[in-house]
């Protein structure tokens, strides 16, 4: 049996006995067969020694058991890596950052504790998936929407703590949360915001409570184990409308995005919008250039040539689909208003999209893009071909046309400098998963091929560095790159990371909670790492 780092066989054996007494022997996993289920199914380290393998896993069913597990781990100084549904695929899955850590698997804590239709909020445990919460709401006939990320089997708690995004007005999942319950490293329970009032009546309705607002410290961190979390929901809107705005010239992207930015910042456009290019996508498909066609490389056709192709084939250089949610009369008026704002761009064209009223029929649900309506699904897994997994390079850039041009040029040049064709990388055009900025998503396929994975890891790390040199940082990353990404958030000699480490040493002095998550290591491992 693999041992946790720094723990001897006797202590580990004694600890496992105590874990079994705390949660029941069926919920402590130690056999290779069971422990292998906690490896990263999309590991970029397949067949390499660096592929993280846990020593064991423990799965409590309630917060009292979590407290016991944390206290036992503290007694024996056993590092435990917390997962919720364990389906954070592309970002590390259920596997720890460090081999030998035990996994604290919260999947069995799967209760939807409350869904309040009147005030549109939910309170859930970490093992609840988006599918579970959606089914609960549908079974009870409640007229509220969740927002779901692309894969619906993730956890609202896990996804929001990793600061994931979705598609509807509550698409910024961490921003949509309200109130947490956290087990600290010493086993103490803390409730944040109004939850600190023993008789709280607005835990899920007012975020801040009194004093410092500390919720953010439990996201992308290892300062506690979140065992409950509240989320704001969207009252089921009366209607939805979409419409597509298309422009012909390369430089039209600037006013296209400027207007999009105005409409989003004014809450007229509320859902995630992706800026696309029918022209470049057509070239990507027909030329076999793949992702290369979406970047500006030294070998790219000139802008004039591209515009000419677009004109000949009647393909817009850029477009974006806008999404409106609300009363039918209002969403129709919002689309008309958007068209009015965009009409200043010469040659702009508009196409009406779907117009829907809710609730949708079962047949409609099968034929709409589900994620746009908070309906969990797994469609995204079919979008990258029959790969053995994927991981995402995903920097945040400004929401402006100029920034998109710069990203196309900078990443195109980076690939050229590396002498690597970007054809295998899946480039998703800039998307507004979060307010006031764009995310550029670049998907790398995972393969059961050591050399291919090694090469992709090198490219990934180089892209992180190049992005940082231009002021762009990752919003989230795979465990394999957490140190790399944390290292580029280096303003004032890494002052922010030093602050995180100071907090870590204070709230988790034995360093038992998720060592290495987002580059935050406990003191004894920090020294070894240095």
């Amino acid at each position: 049996m693999r041992l946790p780092p720094g723990v001897n066989a006797k202590d580990f054996s004694d600890a496992l006995k105590q874990f079994s007494e705390a949660v029941g022997k069926d919920w402590v996993f130690t056999s290779d067969e069971d422990v292998n289920l906690y490896r990263d199914a999309y590991s970029p380290f397949w067949h390499e020694d660096e592929d993280p393998v846990p020593s064991a896993a423990v799965a409590p069913i309630n917060v009292e058991q979590v407290q016991q597990v944390v206290r036992i781990a503290n007694t024996f100084k056993i590092p435990i890596w917390t997962i919720s549904t364990g389906k954070n695929l592309g970002y590390g899955g259920a596997a720890p950052r460090l081999s030998g850590c035990m996994v604290l698997d919260l999947k069995r804590m799967d209760k939807v504790l409350e869904v309040n239709e009147k005030n549109a909020y939910a309170l859930v445990e970490p093992g609840v998936s988006y599918f579970d919460l959606y089914r609960y709401i549908q079974d009870k006939g409640l007229k509220v929407w969740i927002d779901t990320p692309d894969p619906g089997w993730g956890s609202p708690i896990g996804n929001s703590l990793d600061r994931g995004g979705g598609y509807t007005p509550f698409r910024d999942h961490f921003d949509a949360h309200c109130g947490m319950e956290v087990v600290l490293a010493n086993g103490e329970i803390v409730r944040t915001g109004m939850g600190a009032l023993p008789t709280a009546k607005t835990w899920q309705q007012y975020r801040y409570g009194f004093g410092p607002y500390i919720d953010g410290m439990f996201s992308q961190s290892n300062f506690g184990v979140v065992t409950k979390m509240g989320f704001w929901l969207l009252p089921q809107p009366e209607g939805y409308r979409s419409g597509t705005v298309s422009v012909a010239k390369h430089d039209d992207l600037v006013p296209l995005v400027d207007t999009l930015s105005y409409l989003m910042n004014s809450s007229i456009v509320q859902g995630t919008t992706t800026v696309g290019s029918p022209l470049l996508m057509s070239i990507a498909r027909s030329s076999g250039m793949g992702g290369a066609a979406l970047l500006t490389t030294p070998k790219s056709p000139s802008i004039a040539d591209l515009e000419k192709i677009g004109q000949e084939k009647n393909l817009p250089y850029w477009n974006c689909e806008l999404h409106f949610y609300g009363p039918s009369k209002v969403v129709d008026a919002q689309w008309e208003y958007a068209k009015e704002k965009y009409s200043v761009i010469p040659g702009v064209t508009f196409q009406d999209g779907q117009s829907l009223r809710f609730p949708l029929s079962a047949d409609q649900i099968e034929h709409v893009p589900k994620r746009q309506f908070g309906i969990p699904n797994l469609t995204v897994f079919g979008m990258m071909g029959r790969t053995e997994g994927h991981m995402w390079f995903s920097p945040i850039i400004p929401m402006s046309g100029e920034a998109v041009f710069e990203a196309q040029r900078v990443f195109g040049q980076a690939y050229a400098d590396m002498g690597v064709p970007p054809a295998e990388t899946t480039f998703v055009f800039p998307s507004s998963f979060f307010p006031r900025s764009f995310v550029v998503l670049c998907g790398f396929p995972i393969a059961h091929d050591v050399e291919k994975n090694r090469k992709n890891r090198q490219i990934f790390k180089r892209l992180v560095e190049v992005a940082a040199q231009h002021g762009w940082g990752e919003y989230r990353t795979h465990t394999a790159f957490m140190d790399t990404v944390a290292n580029v958030y280096s303003y004032n000699d890494h002052a922010l990371l030093h602050f995180h480490e100071t907090v870590k040493d204070a709230v988790d002095p034995n360093g038992i909670l998720s060592p290495g998550r987002c580059g935050i290591w406990p003191k004894h491992m920090r020294k070894a790492k240095a």
């Binding site: 067969e33 797994l378 897994f381 059961h448």
Partner: protein, 114 residues
Amino acid sequence: MRYARIFLLVALSVAFAAQAFAAPDESQLDRGHRVYQKWCYPCHGPGADKPGTASLAARGQKPAVLEDRTDLTPAAIKIFVRHGVLYMPTFRKTEISDADLDAIAAYLTRNNKK
């Protein structure tokens, strides 16, 4: 791990060749259907947005929808769930217990020739 993949393929070949399973009782089938709907249907149900079905169709599997198959074996189903294949990940015992997996296997083999 390369050997593990080879083992997987050999095991699947053997599993697909296996015959004659004990008839499961109704409650086992009900449980299998329930667990299948929760864990398998979103990827393996009918429809263009089900990536598991699309992947099997691309591989030439007919029918591509698992519920319509009559040639699956419990052993093969268990290997896929616990080992994964392509972008289908492994499923832990806190997600699908061994008893749930038995029920899924019973459900997906309910129409096999006895």
